[in-house]
C-alpha cells in the first residue's frame, strides 16, 4: 500500500486493542447515507516510475528557448547549493516552530532572514514572510489603516504604474474592510508617476500612498518628492520594492526626509525559480513604532533557562490563534521554505554579488532595448531612468507578434494592451544577468523576421 506501512498482523493486533472487528467499524459514527461511493473519476494509483514518465512528458511540452518576460517574476541564476540545502528533509518536512527547542534551525534561519530584509530595506523590523508580493501589499495597506490614527479613511493613492495584478489583489483582499484605491496618473513621456497629479488630493485625509520602485514599467520613481508630499499630508508611505534592486537603489528608509513607513514586495528574485508563479514569498518590513500592527510570524532572540541564547516566535498576541476575531490578519501558514532558500541565496551572493546581479541586469536590459529599438518600426516608450525592465512599442499588435516570437523559441515579453490600452502596441521586456549578448541578438533578429 503506497506510504502505509501496516502489515495484516499489525491491523489485526491494532483492531483487537481498539475492540473493533474491522477498520470500517471505526467509521460507525458517520451516518451511512453519507458514505461516499467509489470515486470512479479518480485514476488508479501508479508506481513512481510510471508517474515520473507522465510528468516528464508533460514537462517537455512546456520547454522554452529564451525567456524575456519579467512583469513581477524574474529569471535569475540560483546557486546549486540553495535548493540542495533547502530541500533537506529537516527543513522541507518540518512545520511552524511551535516547539521552539526542537526547531532552532528554522527559527535561526528566520531570524537571519529578518535581519537581511531589514538590512536591505533599511527598516527596523521584518516579519517571517507573507504569501507573495501582491498579498503582502494588501496586508501592508490594511496595516497602514490600523497604524495611521490621524487619517484612517481607508483612501489609498495608488499610482497607475503599480503592477496591475497587485492592484487587483489589493481590491479582492481589502475591499470588504472599506479600503478605496484612488489612481495616480503617470507621465506619458517618462513612464513615472506625475508629481502634479498629487496636488488634487491635498487635504483629503489620505491614509497611505503606494510607491512601487522600480515601477511596473521598470522606470524609477521620484521617491523623495512623493514621500515628502505624503508625510506632509499625514499619509503613510507604503513602498513596494524589488529586493535585487536594493543592492543599488536607495533603501526606502531613506526616501524623502522621514523614509517610507511600511515596505513590502515580492521575494522571488532571491533564489526562487520562476516555476509558474509560485511558491514565492512576500516580505514586509516596517518602523518599530508599527510593529504591533504587523501581520504574520515574527521570530525573536531570547535566553533559555541556563541563560543561553535561543530563538522563538514572539509578539504572538497579534495573531489569530491567540486573538481570534481581533487578530491583525488571518495569516497562519506562510512561505517558510522559500524564506529558507532566500536566506541561503543572500548568504551566497552577499552584498557584492547582489549588486553585480542588479548591475548586470540593468546593463543587459539596456542592451536589449538598444537592439530591439534598432529593428525598423520598433521604439522605446519611456525616457525615464530604469532598472531591469522597459516598455517597447511595436508597429503591430502584441497579440499578433508575441505568438510568432514564441514559435521561434522566444518569449518576448508581457503584452500591456489590456491594462494600458493608451500605450498602443506595447510590450514590457526584461533581460536579467542570465541573458548573453548572443541571446539578446537572437531576440532582435527574430523580431526583425516577424515584423518583416
Amino acid at each position: 500500500m503506497p506510504f502505509i506501512p501496516h502489515t495484516e498482523t499489525d491491523v489485526r493486533d491494532m483492531l483487537a486493542a481498539i475492540g473493533a472487528k474491522k477498520i470500517d467499524d471505526l467509521f460507525d459514527e458517520i451516518p451511512l447515507e453519507l458514505r461516499s461511493g467509489k470515486l470512479d473519476k479518480i485514476p488508479e494509483g501508479l508506481p513512481e516510475m510510471e508517474v515520473a514518465a507522465i510528468l516528464s512528458e508533460r514537462a517537455h511540452l512546456d520547454a522554452v528557448g529564451l525567456n524575456f518576460i519579467g512583469a513581477g517574476a524574474y529569471e535569475h541564476h540560483i546557486p546549486a547549493a540553495v535548493w540542495q540545502i533547502t530541500t533537506r528533509g529537516e527543513f522541507y518536512s518540518a512545520y511552524t516552530p511551535y516547539q521552539a527547542e526542537a526547531s532552532q534551525g528554522t527559527l535561526q534561519v528566520l531570524y537571519e532572514f529578518q535581519s537581511m530584509m531589514t538590512a536591505l530595506t533599511g527598516m527596523d523590523v521584518s516579519n517571517a514572510s507573507m504569501y507573495d508580493g501582491a498579498s503582502a501589499l494588501g496586508e501592508a495597506l490594511l496595516m497602514a489603516v490600523r497604524s495611521n490614527k490621524q487619517n484612517d479613511s481607508g483612501r489609498i493613492l495608488m499610482p497607475k504604474t503599480v503592477h496591475p495584478f497587485y492592484k487587483e489583489v489589493v481590491t479582492s483582499t481589502t475591499h470588504a474592510q472599506g479600503l478605496r484605491q484612488i489612481e495616480l496618473a503617470y507621465c506619458p513621456k517618462e513612464g513615472k508617476t506625475l508629481l502634479e497629479s498629487l496636488k488634487e488630493h491635498e487635504g483629503q485625509g489620505i491614509t497611505a500612498v503606494v510607491i512601487q520602485q522600480p515601477n511596473f514599467f521598470g522606470t524609477l520613481e521620484d521617491v523623495d518628492a512623493i514621500t515628502d508630499w505624503a508625510h506632509a499630508q499625514g499619509a503613510l508611505v507604503v513602498a513596494v520594492v524589488n529586493p535585487t534592486s536594493l543592492a543599488l537603489l536607495k533603501p526606502p528608509s531613506q526616501w524623502g526626509a522621514k523614509g517610507a513607513d511600511i515596505v513590502c514586495g515580492e521575494g522571488q528574485p532571491l533564489g526562487a525559480p520562476l516555476a509558474s508563479g509560485g511558491p514565492y514569498f512576500g516580505f514586509l518590513t516596517t518602523k518599530m513604532e508599527f510593529v504591533r500592527q504587523m501581520p504574520g510570524r515574527i521570530v525573536g532572540r531570547t535566553l533559555d533557562l541556563d541563560g543561553k541564547p535561543g530563538f522563538s516566535l514572539t509578539l504572538q498576541a497579534r495573531e489569530q490563534h491567540i486573538r481570534r476575531s481581533k487578530a491583525t490578519s488571518n495569516i497562519c501558514t506562510n512561505q517558510g521554505l522559500l524564506v529558507t532558500a532566500a536566506t541561503i541565496y543572500m548568504s551566497l551572493v552577499g552584498p557584492e554579488g547582489l549588486a553585480r546581479v542588479a548591475s548586470a541586469s540593468i546593463a543587459n536590459t539596456g542592451k536589449l532595448v538598444a537592439a530591439l529599438a534598432a529593428v525598423p518600426g520598433v521604439s522605446v516608450a519611456f525616457s525615464g531612468a530604469r532598472f531591469h525592465e522597459a516598455v517597447i512599442k511595436l508597429p503591430e499588435s502584441a497579440a499578433e507578434v508575441l505568438p510568432k516570437l514564441a514559435a521561434l523559441g522566444i518569449l518576448g515579453g508581457f503584452d500591456l494592451s489590456r491594462h494600458y490600452p493608451e500605450l498602443g502596441n506595447a510590450v514590457l521586456v526584461c533581460a536579467t544577468e542570465t541573458k548573453t549578448d548572443t541571446q539578446i541578438k537572437r531576440y532582435a533578429e527574430a523580431l526583425k523576421q516577424v515584423l518583416a
Partner: protein, 490 residues
C-alpha cells in the same frame, strides 16, 4: 551546540566568487539621488561557510523525515520524495507564469487534472486552486458567500456563525471580510449545540464555518441537521478542510451539504510543510457558487487547456495572488494524487483513523484521560491532563517538552481552547505500529518520572540545542534582527 549567526562568520570582502556575475558593478544608469550609498549588511562568506552553516542549522530541527511528529490538526504525514523531484523538473521550474498557453500545456494539464480529482473526492461542482494557504482558502470561501448573497440583492446577511471549538483563523477571516462573528457552543459530547444554533440563525446569517471532524477530534454527527437549519435560514455552509484527512475517500463534504470548502493540500495531499509553509488552500464550490470562484481557473477546450479569467468568470471574487498561487505546491499535490490513486485515497482515512483509535485505546488503558471517552477518535484525539495537573502539577507543556527528550515531536497543546491541559494527537496513516508503541511507552515513562519528581519533568527538555526559552523576555526585550556591533548603518 550554539551555531553562530551567519553574520558572525562574515568578513569584509570575503565572497563566494563562483556565485556572482563577473562584470564589476556600474551604477551610472541610476540617477545620483536614487543610488544606495551604504553597503547592505548581508553576510560576506565563502560558499562552504554558507553550506556548512545552513546544513548545521537544519540538524537542529525535528521534522517528519527524522522524527515522529504527531502535531494535531496539522497532518504531518510522510511527504513522498518523488513529489518533490518531479515538481522540480527543469521545464516546470523554468516556466514563466506569463508564458503563453502554447508553452504551458504540460503544466496546465496537470492543474486541470488536479481540479477534476479534487472535485471528485470532495463532491463539489467546481475547484479553484489559487488560494495560497488554508487561511486564504477560508478568505476566498467567505468572500464567495458574501458575493452570492450580494448578487441576490440580500445585503442584510453579514453574520458568520463559528463553533467555539473552531480554529482561530475562522473568526479572523470573517472579520477580514467585514462580517461579524457569533460563536455557537459545543455540547459535552463534542457536537454543536443544535438548540443554540437554531436560536442564532436568522435573516442576518451569511453562513456557518464548520470543521468536520471538528477540532475536538470527533465527527459532527448532526451535520445533516445543521445543514438543514442553516440552509432553511438562508445561510450557506462553509467546510474548513483542516481535517479532511480523516474522511478522505469515506465522506464527501459535498454530500454533507456544504456549499463551499477549502482543502489544505499541505495536509491531506502531503505537500511539505517547509518549516511554516508554503501551503495551498484550494477551494471547492457547489453549483450555485461556481460564478464566484477566485481566478484564474484552468479550463479545457477540446484537447487544449487555457486560463479562465475575469472574461470567463465576470462575477469572480477576483485574484488572490499576482499569478496563480503556489503552483509548485499544487504540482506536488497532483503527483501525490497520481501515486495514491483511487484506492490509495480510500485508504488514507482508514489508516489515519486506525492509528488514532489504536493510540487512543492504548493510552486510555494506560491511565490517561480522554477528553471524549465515549466517542470514536477521528484521525486525531485529545488527552487531558487536568487530573495530573491537580494531583502533581504536571502540565501539557511539561509533557510536550519532555517528549522532545524522548525523540518525539510534541502533539499540539492547549488547542482546542475548550479542553484544559490538552494534548491533540494526530499520528497520520504513514506511521508504523512500532513507532506508535514507542510513543505510548514514552508517555507512560514521562508520567512515571513526574510521579517521582515532577520538578525534573518541568525542567525539560535537557537534550535539545536549548532548554526552555524565556518568551516573556523575548517580548519585553525585543530582539528581532542582528545589529552589527562596529558599523553604523542606515
Amino acid at each position: 551546540m550554539t551555531e553562530k549567526l551567519i553574520f558572525e562568520h562574515s568578513r569584509a570582502t570575503r565572497t563566494a566568487t563562483a556565485q556572482m556575475p563577473s562584470a564589476a558593478v556600474d551604477v551610472s544608469a541610476i540617477p545620483e539621488h536614487l543610488r544606495r550609498k551604504d553597503k547592505p549588511m548581508l553576510p560576506e562568506v565563502s560558499e562552504m561557510q554558507a553550506v556548512r552553516h545552513y546544513t548545521r542549522l537544519s540538524q537542529k530541527n525535528f521534522s517528519i523525515d527524522t522524527h515522529f511528529y504527531p502535531l494535531g490538526s496539522c497532518t504531518m504525514k510522510y511527504n513522498p520524495r518523488a513529489c518533490n523531484s518531479l515538481a522540480m523538473l527543469p521545464e516546470f521550474l523554468a516556466r514563466h507564469p506569463f508564458a503563453p498557453a502554447s508553452h504551458s500545456q504540460g503544466f496546465l494539464s496537470c492543474m486541470y487534472d488536479l481540479q477534476e480529482i479534487l472535485k471528485e473526492v470532495t463532491g463539489m461542482a467546481g475547484v479553484s486552486l489559487t488560494p495560497m494557504a488554508g487561511a486564504q482558502g477560508e478568505f476566498a470561501g467567505v468572500a464567495m458567500i458574501n458575493a452570492y448573497h450580494k448578487a441576490r440583492g440580500d445585503s442584510a446577511r453579514t453574520e458568520i456563525l463559528v463553533p467555539d471549538a473552531a480554529h482561530g483563523t475562522n473568526p479572523a477571516t470573517a472579520v477580514m471580510l467585514g462580517c461579524s462573528v457569533r460563536e455557537i457552543p459545543t455540547n459535552a459530547d463534542g457536537d454543536v449545540d443544535i438548540e443554540a444554533l437554531k436560536a442564532a440563525v436568522g435573516p442576518q446569517t451569511a453562513g456557518i464555518m464548520l470543521t468536520n471532524p471538528s477540532t475536538l477530534g470527533v465527527f459532527e454527527r448532526n451535520i445533516k441537521k445543521i445543514a438543514e437549519i442553516v440552509h432553511q435560514a438562508g445561510g450557506l455552509l462553509y467546510y474548513d478542510g483542516a481535517n479532511l484527512n480523516a474522511i478522505l475517500g469515506k465522506v464527501r463534504p459535498g454530500d454533507m451539504g456544504f456549499d463551499v470548502i477549502h482543502m489544505n493540500l499541505h495536509k491531506t495531499f502531503s505537500t511539505p510543510h517547509g518549516g511554516g509553509g508554503p501551503g495551498a488552500g484550494a477551494v471547492g464550490v457547489s453549483k450555485r457558487l461556481l460564478p464566484f470562484m477566485p481566478i484564474p481557473v484552468v479550463g479545457k477546450e477540446g484537447d487544449s487547456y487555457r486560463w479562465l479569467d475575469e472574461n470567463d468568470l465576470p462575477q469572480s471574487i477576483g485574484r488572490l495572488s499576482a499569478f496563480m498561487g503556489n503552483a509548485g505546491v499544487l504540482l506536488r499535490a497532483y503527483i501525490y494524487a497520481r501515486l495514491l490513486g483511487r484506492e490509495g485515497m480510500h485508504r488514507v482515512a482508514e489508516f489515519a483513523t486506525l492509528n488514532a483509535n489504536y493510540l487512543q485505546a492504548r493510552l486510555s488503558e494506560k491511565g490517561f484521560d480522554l477528553a471524549f471517552p465515549k466517542r470514536r477518535a477521528s484521525h486525531e484525539f485529545i488527552i487531558t491532563l487536568k487530573r495530573q495537573k491537580k494531583e502533581i502539577e504536571l502540565t501539557a507543556t511539561d509533557v510536550a517538552k519532555r517528549l522532545l527528550d524522548y525523540g518525539f515531536h510534541a502533539p499540539t497543546i492547549y488547542f482546542p481552547l475548550l479542553v484544559p491541559e490538552c494534548l491533540l494527537i494526530e499520528p497520520t496513516e504513514t506511521e508504523d505500529k512500532e513507532t506508535l508503541d514507542s510513543f505510548i511507552e514514552a508517555l507512560c515513562a514521562i508520567y512515571e518520572e513526574a510521579k517521582k519528581d515532577v520538578a525534573y519533568v518541568k525542567g525539560a527538555p535537557y537534550t535539545m540545542p536549548v532548554r526552555r526559552l524565556d518568551d516573556v523576555r523575548a517580548v519585553r526585550q525585543l530582539d528581532v534582527r542582528w545589529n552589527q556591533p562596529a558599523q553604523t548603518h542606515g
